[in-house]
Each structure stands twice: as C-alpha cells, then as structure tokens.
Assembly symmetry: C2
Homo-oligomer: 349 residues x 2
DNA sequence: GTTAGCACTCCAAGGTGATGAGTGCTAACA
DNA sequence: TGTTAGCACTCATCACCTTGGAGTGCTAAC
C-alpha cells in the first residue's frame, strides 16, 4: 500500500497531537483539527490502513491510535521541519555558554544544564576522549625528598599530573635525565599509542637498568595515561522524567533512573554512538532498558579534533523537531567556543 | 511522666519492629514478640502513655503506632547498641577500598559506592576542602609560542594546573622570573589566604609594571586557586529510594530525587555539618525537603588535616545502629588509607 | 495493677454499574 | 467509487458500596 498524501497528513496530525498530549488520538478529535476536512469515519478508515502498514498501534480496542517507532522514524526523516530557534533562545544559550567559558569542564557541564532546562528532558554531556591527543613532553618535578610530580603535557595544552612517591633517593639531575629520556621516547605519540604494550615494553627494557626511580615512575605514568583517556559524564535534569506521563508508573520511573545512574554503562553507550546528530527511537535502541525511550545525541569538537558528545534522553513521544534544533545550535556554539579558546582571542591575527 | 523500664522496652520493640516492616505496630503483634510478657491491653495502655509523651504517633484511629522523631532520637542516643561488623563485612570493605587506593578521587567515589551497596540507601561522599593546603611553589612552563602552563604545587603534593594563553610574547627567562616572583609572594600561604583581597592587590601593584605577562597569568592564577577550593560530590544508589515503601508515592519520590540532584545545595549542606558521626532525624533537619528523611554523616581526614564527608540519606525509619557502625568503620578505614598514602608506603620507616 | 471483652473506627480490597471515548462495520449518498 | 452517517460493540475509568480485618479505647472483672 502507498502512503497517500492524505494518509501522510493524518499520520502527521496524529504524531504531533500525541507528542503534545501523550493521549491516544481518536478519529473524532482529529477530525475537529484545523485543516482536517474529512469526517471521523474517513479518518478511521485511513487509520486502519496506517495501522496495517505498521505506523500506528492500538493500546486496546476502544482507545485511540498511538504512533509506532516506524511512524516517528518517518516523521524525523521526512515529515518534520526543523524550526529555527528564536533570536531570544539563541541569545540565552550563547550568553550562558559564554559565562562559563573560562573552564573547559564547567562549560560542558553548563551545556548539559542549559539543554536540560530548555527541553525539560534529561540531558547529558561527555567530555572528549583524548585518544588522539599527542604527547608534547613529560616532566618530573621535585616536591620533597620522597615525592615528585609527574607531569604529562600534550600538544593541545592539556596537562595531567600525578604525585609519585619515590622509594629510592633522587637528585635533580637524575630526575631531569629520566624526564628527558621519557620525553624522547614518547614525544609525538598519541596517548593511546603510548599505551600500547610493545612501546612500553621497549622503553622499560631501556630504562630498567638506569635506576629504581623508573620503577616508581612508570606505573604512575601508565596510570596517568589511562586517566587521560577517561571521559567525564555530566547529567542534568534527572527528575524531569517525573513530569512525563509515560513514567508516572513507579516501576518504570525506577528502571529509568536505575539505568541512567549507571555512569559507566551510559558513558560507553554514548561513546559508541555515531558522530553528528543521531536520533534513535524506541525499539531502535539495541539496549533493552531504552526501548521505550528516544535518544538524540550530537557531537562537538575541540580544536577541530577531539570529539565529545551531548544529548538528551526522553520518551519516544518527544518534540523531535524542537529538540534537534536546540541541540544543533548548542553543539555549533560549543564547537565555536572551543575553537576560539584554542585558536586565540579576537585580539590575535 | 517517667519513662519506666517497661515503657522503654515497649518503645524499643516498636521502633525495631517499625524499622523492619515500615508498618504501624499494633498491640497484638507486639504482645506476641519474644520476651513481651504483657497482654495486648497492657501494651495498649503503655502505648497511650507513650503517645501522650510524644514518642509515638497514630496515622489514624484504627492503625498501630509509629515512632516519632523524638523516639528515634532517644533510640539513637541511648537505646541502640552499635553492633560490631562481622569479620566478613570488614574484609569486604577493606578489600574494596584497597583496590581503588591508587587514585584519591576514585577512592572516595568507591567508598560511596560501597556504602550505598551495603546499606541499600543513597550515599554520598565529599572530597576534602583544600582551604588549609599550603602553597609550595608556582611554576610556569612553556607549551608553544602563545601558551604556557600555570602550575601550583602544594605542600601535600597536590598539583593544580591550567593552560594560559599569552597575549604578549614571552621568553623562558621572563617565565622563570615571573614564576619565582609568584612563588616568593605566595609560598607558605594557604590557598584561602592567597585568595584574600589585600594579598592579591599588593602583589598586583608589585608586578603590574613588570610585563603584560602578569596580566595574562594572574586571572588564571586566581581561577585555579578557586578551583582548588572546590570539592567534588559523589552520589550513589539514588535509585535505592524506590525500594523504600515510604517513597512509593510518586510525588514523594520526585521531590527526593529533585532535592538530591541539586549538587551545589547538597554540597553546601554537607560541608556545614559537624565533623564526626552526626545523625539528624526527620524534623531535626532544618531543610524542609528533608523533614521525612534522616541523614547520617561522618568525616574522614587526609593526612590528619583536610576533612571530607561521607554519609547516607534515607527514611527516618532506617537501621541506625547498623548504618552507623558501617559508616564508622568505613571512615576509619578511609582515614587510615590516606594517612598511609601521604606518609609513605609500608616499606618506609 | 493487669487482663478479657466488646463496641467502635477506619483502611484496604473487591465487586458493581454507569459513563464515555473510541472502534469496526454496514448501508446510503454524491 | 470514494465518503459519510449511523449503530452496535468494546473497554478503561470512575464513583460507589460492601466486606473483612486490624487496631483502638473503655469498662468491668480478676
């Protein structure tokens, strides 16, 4: 069966009505809508067809129709028009982002907050994975007779450090020698390259003879590299789900919150998602607990390279068009912010 | 009226029964308990007295009795006996803490996880405030022609850093000079001292003539000092609240989660609490949203100085004795861990 | 002082019937 | 042939009632 012009119109009306009300849509209600020039009976016939085609479902015989994931997919791909944000909304987002722009982590956290507030959904943001960050130099600095600081500086200016307790005495010269040796070995490598087994093994055989110092430093070096790969997850608006009728069932609310408070799981899932704006609807989510949710995620980049994620999670019945527009604007803004931050202020060039 | 031996016995029985079942306790149920050698009627008379004295309340005429905050307070202060943890429990806690002991923040996060898992409540942990941390030196390190890294090292070996974009060219010598000047001015001061206005003002008038460099560095220096004062809040087991009958009402659950996801608020409240083990019950909590919860918090120390908090939040009907024992053991363990970490490994001394 | 007995209260759970929104089908209409 | 009015039917929801049980308070007897 073909999706006639009229069927599309009716389907779209059902979807947007259901998105607003969360109530199954009946033929009579629909017929009274602006621009619906068919009788309830006609609409019923079309609805029956649409149901047969898999776009609608039926909670029970005498209830209205509810859009299926297939319908939402069609809506997202073809029917919906992305509304331009109003000037006011844009200003609010841009202003609030700018206010927190001094600190990278804060900015990301802030972006999640903004997103959650505007959409009234649960939002999350992931800081970029620094896999591709290139090591610039490694430095060991004295603190006191038994403690030194290990510092790893990357090309992009990010610094990671760790206090290392030394089990053998050291001199400033020996520290510097070890720093230089390590820098020589790892400079120009990405963090993930540096972590691969054979590089480490090669290096260790080189230095092991040098001093007990290396034995204190190396495990900490690896640990710090690993930490550099870690991303942070920020989540905001968790309690918003209570305002959504779909979750007025306690059991459902519980599952939702249980799922979302498993940071590691969520982080993994977000990292795995494609870059760019990605929408997954209901059953399209491989994950069982997410099958009656929809996820919209987008990626932002820092200095044109490292990629972080930001997005929302909500009921399948969500305002896809609005939310998508907002996320798009927000990520553009983030990418800009971070380009500016790394490329230099407007005073330059 | 006096609290006779028998009244105390009955009150204690009511409290422990209610803690287990969350159901109002009736006289008949109580009379059947081990060691209760009075008839239901006698118990009823005593209950009526206890109610008059403010230890019990009555949801409605034909329901059993429920302990009031006053009763719990009496219970916590005098009636309850802190059970020693079983060897097994101790081992579990100690083992799991040790596993994460390489990284300070992770250890704290882990402690919150453990606490939540064992108690089946919502737990939180606060990293220590570094107000009293003493600045050891300040270092500026070159990254590229327009970026340097500002690094602040404290006596306790904690390092904070920030990438600073320079609007004027710099030389390695000028960097070193500025580092030394800053170190000279701030060395030996605590972070909070360094942040007080007149110190900054004095310093600024000194250096302002030196170069535009200081103008780039100082705001970032202050920002970094402020960041050093920030504490991190970890929260675990948020969804445990759904297993507690008291919160089977959706509205209540919502309020609870809304309250707890306001990180800044919660952090402030926790910082303000007294050190040592502190129990606040129901209405004793000044905060309105917490009036039907109880909070148990304790403090741990790092290197004998900085103080962080850890604790749980749950219904007023909570297993005070068990939970208190667990928290006590956990904080002792944390304090030990951090003493070891900073004082040196067992190989030393 | 303690206890048995009894009337009373109130919640919770289950059953009943009315209501109304919505459907599917059929037959009439343009 | 497509559209529409009409009608019987379905089902969830809600208000209302009934019943059972747990628990109390009071009184009188032990």
């Amino acid at each position: 069966m073909e999706l006639s012009e009229r069927k599309l119109k009716i389907l779209q009306a059902i979807i947007s009505d259901y998105i607003m009300t969360a109530e199954p849509v009946g033929s009579r209600t629909l017929s009274k809508k602006e621009g619906m020039d068919f009788s309830p009976a006609t609409i019923r016939n079309e609805m029956a067809d649409l149901e047969e085609m898999g776009y609608l479902t039926h909670p029970h015989t005498s209830a209205g129709r509810v859009p299926s994931a297939k319908a939402y997919r069609l809506y997202v791909n073809e029917l919906m028009d992305k509304p331009e944000l109003t000037g006011e909304e844009k200003i609010i987002i841009a202003e609030r982002l700018k206010n927190s722009a001094t600190d990278f982590e804060r900015t990301i956290e802030h972006a999640a907050e903004i997103l959650s507030e505007i959409t009234n959904l649960t939002s999350f943001a992931l800081t970029p994975r620094k896999t591709e960050d290139v090591i610039k130099y490694i430095s060991l600095l004295p603190v006191d007779s038994e403690t030194v600081i290990l510092m790893i500086v990357s090309e992009s200016g990010k610094v990671s450090n760790k206090a290392v307790r030394m089990s053998v005495p050291y001199t400033n010269d020996s520290l510097e020698l070890l720093s230089k040796t390590m820098t020589y070995n790892y400079k120009g490598k990405t963090v993930s390259q540096a972590l691969t087994n054979n590089i480490i093994a090669n290096f260790e055989t080189d230095v092991v003879a040098m001093s007990g110092m290396a034995q204190d430093v190396m495990p900490n070096f690896l640990k710090t590299l690993e930490d550099m790969l870690n991303v942070n997850l920020y989540m905001e608006g968790l309690s918003n789900i209570f305002d959504i009728p779909e979750y007025s069932d306690l059991e459902k609310a519980k599952n939702f919150i249980q799922l979302l408070t498993q940071k590691k799981e969520i982080t993994r899932k977000l990292i795995e998602r494609d870059d760019g704006i990605t929408v997954t609807i209901g059953e399209e989510n491989a994950d069982e607990g997410l099958q009656d949710c929809s996820l919209i995620t987008a990626s932002y980049s820092v200095d044109g390279k490292l990629v972080g994620k930001i997005g929302v999670i909500g009921p399948t019945r969500m305002k896809y068009s609005e939310v998508t527009s907002i996320i798009e604007y927000l990520t553009d803004n983030l990418t800009d912010t971070f380009k500016l931050e790394t490329r230099g202020e407007e005073t330059k060039k």
